[in-house]
Symmetry: D2
Amino acid sequence: MTILLTGFGRFANVERNPSEQIVAALDDSRVDGHRVVGRILPVSARDTPAAVRAALAETEPALAFLLGVAPGRTALTIERVAVNVFDFEDPDNDGEQPVDVPIEEGGPAAYFATLPVRRIVAAWHAAGIPGALSDTAGTYLCNAAMYTALHATADERLPAGFVHLPSLPDEVASQRAPAPSMPLQTQIDGVRIAIEAAVGEAAA
Amino acid sequence: MTILLTGFGRFANVERNPSEQIVAALDDSRVDGHRVVGRILPVSARDTPAAVRAALAETEPALAFLLGVAPGRTALTIERVAVNVFDFEDPDNDGEQPVDVPIEEGGPAAYFATLPVRRIVAAWHAAGIPGALSDTAGTYLCNAAMYTALHATADERLPAGFVHLPSLPDEVASQRAPAPSMPLQTQIDGVRIAIEAAVGEAAA
Amino acid sequence: MTILLTGFGRFANVERNPSEQIVAALDDSRVDGHRVVGRILPVSARDTPAAVRAALAETEPALAFLLGVAPGRTALTIERVAVNVFDFEDPDNDGEQPVDVPIEEGGPAAYFATLPVRRIVAAWHAAGIPGALSDTAGTYLCNAAMYTALHATADERLPAGFVHLPSLPDEVASQRAPAPSMPLQTQIDGVRIAIEAAVGEAAA
Amino acid sequence: MTILLTGFGRFANVERNPSEQIVAALDDSRVDGHRVVGRILPVSARDTPAAVRAALAETEPALAFLLGVAPGRTALTIERVAVNVFDFEDPDNDGEQPVDVPIEEGGPAAYFATLPVRRIVAAWHAAGIPGALSDTAGTYLCNAAMYTALHATADERLPAGFVHLPSLPDEVASQRAPAPSMPLQTQIDGVRIAIEAAVGEAAA
């Protein structure tokens, strides 16, 4: 059984993206005996959806965990829902900044995550890791990756979803009013715990 | 050379006070060859000032670092100033809740920290630890401990000051909207780095 | 042409609900020649959806504006999307507190607002009224009312949507750390301006 | 009996300073039979203190109310204390940006407001106006004006103090995430109410 884990690299004001570092740390590792396959997605309205579909096609995963950073968050947050819209506050890495454009022309307005989100949050709490359920993944490329993964796998009901991560401590250390942060190792542990919780649910 | 390090225990809504755990971790250790002596202060309008004076008298320190938690903070914060007032939003551990009462009858309105606060903040940033200078230590017992230490040592100009700490991760993990947090080990490292910066300044 | 305007009354920690007062102020008034018909909805997982459907059936509106309060918001916010879930942080007025229950069994995950949300935000800004587009209407009864209105009118494409309101000043005046607020008159003006913008769009 | 009321004009990112508009509205008016005399202070580390002293010397007030804006505040806030430091996050209108420089060389670390701050907060609450006591006036020119007024009048114990104001609605209306705001008329009413409360106290 393969577990797809995706992240993003630099964009806008984010220098060190924890999602990229977590993917680097867990790529090709095993969680509960299952192989994690990592992919870094482009930060691009034009290319992100195709990259998500390609990653799904190439890896044929039994579970898909997509990761991204959300500066300002205080906890690991698993997203409840992804919506069918690009509406960017900052340009993507191609310099594009779409406003109110559908990700998938004619697609449904939204998809709910198919991962066991409550079980994942409970696993974080049991481990003493700050974690919560989030009601909005925003309208940038994190949301677009999540929407695309759920749209592409809607028929097969692949368990898929998105975890938004706090900033890394050294990213915010010298800010005038430092944003909340979480160390990389805690974030890696939290993602592994989330995968284990989802694998356990899938096996149950 | 002795370095006095103080913390507080449980109070109001704080179950696990990182200041208590940092004092436990560093008590009787050596930083740059100097011995750290730890003390836990009572959370009490009636007893905190006397406990601060007793700790200073018993340990005759060359440096005094006072610690306390400030839920909601995202970084280690060193306080610029302590003011001569008790004004409690929550009762202390004796159930007292004074409003606009001087800590030191007839004392000056405020004292500035005598630690090298800029040097400490710079040392945190160099280590990648979120840190900042704060303009208010509040009007609870953290402020009162800081005010008392500076008042008691005003003549000798002992380098003294106060570091406010974020919550510990497991304290906030299951909150509906988790408060910002910082792991204990990062907090211990940060306090040690602050002491080193202050020792370096004192030696310079 | 009839314009349906709905609000809610007291619930949880909200004593004075601005949505109820705006409905009282605008009920039976005319905006651009069209008659506003007001309805107060129950705060009830069991009854809110049926009350929304009844209000639509009775008034046969050409536009539907649903209103509710969101303590903590700093501006009038028009919601982009409503999702098919009840997930309550506080009990409703029947004492019910559903978790992850669909509003409409078998309904789509979400609907986008069919009001001209950008035009409405622009009209607020032109009038100097703080206003913004919001990406989440939450998972309480505000979201449920919006979801139900959009679901019930999906075929006819009635322009419908939801405006979340800040607290009223006297509701927060004595809070220890007062929540943001907006005066009732500004809120009434803002809702009237939003209706005018939507009527203008419908006529265009 | 003369009441001195001061404000500031444009600076840094503030276009429309409510303090300037309140001074314009109340200048030369009468509150409880006493004449309000308004002054606009320069936003200048070099010139603000002298302008405060000149205003006090020229008007010989029985009460001094200093006003300034603090973007982000949700309520009228009366400051408890002013500290003897210039430490600017933004340059002043001369382009100066001092760091940790005393306002008054050799002056005490701080002064407490000599206005009846609790009585003022209670008067706001009685009027339904969001209001609170603040523990820090910052380290910019608002704090410097307050410090200077209290230092200059320390011997005579003139009732003097500082009110920090929220942004005006039209200043924040189109911000991506609008800052909290309060209408000008509410702010004018709140300042008049504060003056009345202080006059009442002085008379009592």
